[in-house]
Amino acid sequence: MSKAKEALLNPIFNDNPIALQILGICSALAVTGNLYITLIMCVALTTVVTLSNLSVSLIRNHIPTNIRIIVQISIIATLVMLVDEVLQAFDYESSKTLSVFVGLIVTNCIVMGRAEAFAMKNGPLLSAIDGFGNGLGYSIILIIIAIIREFIGAGTFYGIEIMPLTTNGGWYLANNFFLTPASSFFIIGFTIWALREWKTDQIEKPEFKISENSLEAEKRAV
């Protein structure tokens, strides 16, 4: 695989920011109650991470090491504020629902992580591709979670009714747990499990092994 292709495709399944690096979980919990909102969030994050990687990489040879984190954060924060402004101007309804979570992209570990780990060491084009790839990797997990949560929690897919709810005179009693952010933990967990069953090289070696029960061992020795 060429370097660019690798930078673009690797984060999607092989090195997924959420499923393997376990970054950016916070927003994966918070904004996945409904698919439309999730898509807006994915676009916002992908835009920010691509542009932040690009800009950090462009000035990487001039960033003094002792203030590099501050420089990265300033760039990211600026981009996030721009995205927030644009959202408020063009999609007011979603910006109301997303409220603080757009602003919280600043603290999303994926953006900062890619700027520090990749963009500081690679050229602008490759960095932008890497940012975009990571945005896609983030998006795909969020979209999976959102589809499951919206379907079980509200009986809809992208706002289209699939299972009519009892509250609207249908037969499906919505599982309210799936509307709460905590349900994402379980879905993320199962997603990671499924992914690692498929890509077995992602399974981590156990850090320690539980040793044999010492009493049992003693008994056997006697």
Binding site: E85, Q88, Y92
Partner: protein, 260 residues
């Protein structure tokens, strides 16, 4: 590249980065402000019209809103105030400023507002000369934050036309169901005041027994959202009571009987 870490270079990079970033943000904020403001106003107008049941498919909200008469009311006296320009009125700053608001003692502060502004905007809709609906902004604390909305009453100042929230932080699917069209539809036709003027409207736990005498004062609670439901009851009791629009409604009723 090694000279990046000198104090001079550090300062130059830091300052120029700040300048570029702030220029970008200021530019976008100024450029997009009109659009954002327009969105906000449109959203509010939309909810006001929707509370009063005046929303029509296919007709622009801003055109429909031209039929609405906006007035500033002095909540203390219950009279319309001519001195404050509607464009200058802002609920947030009025309720914070000590000269335009009062602190609420905890026993009357059922909606947990802490301070209440002395002036509010109300919206009147006339059909010809006749008052058709009065729309009152209401707000109060729910589970996670303040719920802000509009209550529309019929000209008898008693029967509800609709209740619509435009800003709240309740849990989606639970308290967030205050936005559910089915639940909102229950409000239509309910009555807020008893014959002797007490605020009776409340959201109860469970469903309302339709055969009971008091059913017109009661609204089905939202399952799994008791605190939100109570919050809605409390905010209505507060704003319809003496500390809210009570004086205004009394005055307007008097006015009507005089006119007749």
């Amino acid at each position: 590249m090694n000279n990046n870490d000198t104090i001079k270079k550090t300062l130059i990079v830091a300052i120029s980065l700040c300048l570029v970033c702030s220029a970008l943000i200021s530019f976008s904020a100024v450029e997009l402000r009109d659009l954002q403001e327009a969105n906000k106003t449109l959203d509010k107008q939309n909810k006001i019209l929707s509370a009063a049941g005046l929303l029509e498919e296919g007709i622009d909200t801003s055109i429909l809103f031209e039929s609405i008469n906006t007035k500033i009311v002095n909540l203390e006296t219950g009279l319309f105030d001519q001195n404050i320009n509607i464009a200058d009125y802002e609920e947030g700053s009025f309720s914070r400023n000590p000269s335009t608001s009062i602190e609420l003692p905890s026993d009357v502060d059922i909606a947990l507002l802490k301070r209440r502004e002395n002036f509010q905007t109300v919206y009147l809709h006339y059909e010809g000369e006749l008052l058709n609906a009065i729309i009152l902004p209401v707000r109060g604390y729910g589970l996670w934050g303040t719920m802000k909305g509009y209550l529309a009453l019929e000209p008898n100042f008693k029967t509800i036309i609709g209740l619509e929230f435009f800003d709240h932080k309740e849990t989606p699917g639970l308290g967030g169901e205050i936005d559910n069209p089915k639940w909102k539809a229950i409000w239509k036709g309910k009555e807020v005041y008893s014959d002797n003027g007490d605020v009776l409207i409340s959201v109860i736990k469970g469903s309302v027994d339709k055969s009971s005498n008091n059913s017109k004062y009661k609204v089905d609670g939202l399952s799994g959202a008791t605190i939100t439901s109570n919050g809605v009851s409390n905010l209505l009791s507060f704003w319809l009571g003496d500390m809210g629009y009570g004086p205004l409604i009394d005055n307007m009723k008097l006015q009507e009987t005089k006119d007749v």
